[in-house]
């Protein structure tokens, strides 16, 4: 289990400019859906974008606080389309 605030804290360390939307999918606080908009994704392919998000969350992923995470990533330009 992990709070939304804790997840946001981890992500902001790697993506300081990011806009985040986080949904607790099951109410159990271990399965989240994340929408993240950041300029860091510019010129990155989809695989590398996810890798960077997983890297930001590697601690809570490794110790099991996050069981499952769905990620949708966009750049600010893509989000404005």
């Amino acid at each position: 289990m992990i709070s939304k605030e804790a997840i946001i804290h981890y992500i902001k360390q790697v993506f300081p400019d990011s806009e985040l939307s986080l949904i607790d999918k099951t109410g159990m606080m271990d399965h989240y859906q994340l929408e993240i908009i950041s300029s860091k994704f510019q010129d990155m392919n989809r695989l590398d974008r996810q890798r960077l998000v997983y890297e930001a969350l590697s601690e809570p992923m490794k110790d099991g606080r996050i069981h499952a995470l769905e990620i949708q990533s966009q750049t600010p330009q893509e989000a404005n389309k």
Partner: protein, 111 residues
């Protein structure tokens, strides 16, 4: 030991055009994401192989290392790594998936 598992994985992703490394089998997926990935490929009608690595920690660790990707399921198409449905769904939406599968399965038809 590690070499043997690596060879096994390389063989699996070479011999099968679509491979899903997941939790559980095609008939009995043990994880919602594995099930979602199976449903995804059922829509396309191409043959795909589900390989259960739920209890095979050495293979899971090696797969994560090879793909630089921490979670299951892991999908390989035409021997290339494509992540999971977070990647596949937008590819389906944009039409990239249909193009990719056409290309991968055409090769087979040509021998």
């Amino acid at each position: 030991m590690e070499n043997t598992i690596e060879e096994e994985i390389k063989e699996e992703i070479t011999e099968n055009k679509i491979v899903i490394y997941g939790k559980g089998t095609k008939e009995r997926p043990m994880c919602g994401f594995t099930r979602e990935t199976i449903d995804f490929f059922n829509r396309y009608g191409h043959p795909y192989k589900v390989i259960d690595v739920l209890n095979n920690m050495p293979k899971r660790e090696l797969l994560s290392k090879m793909s630089n990707w921490p979670t299951l399921p892991k999908v390989f198409i035409g021997g290339q790594f494509y992540g999971d449905t977070d990647i596949l769904d937008p590819m389906a939406e944009s039409g990239e998936m249909a193009t990719l599968l056409k290309k991968v399965f055409e090769k087979e038809a040509q021998g």
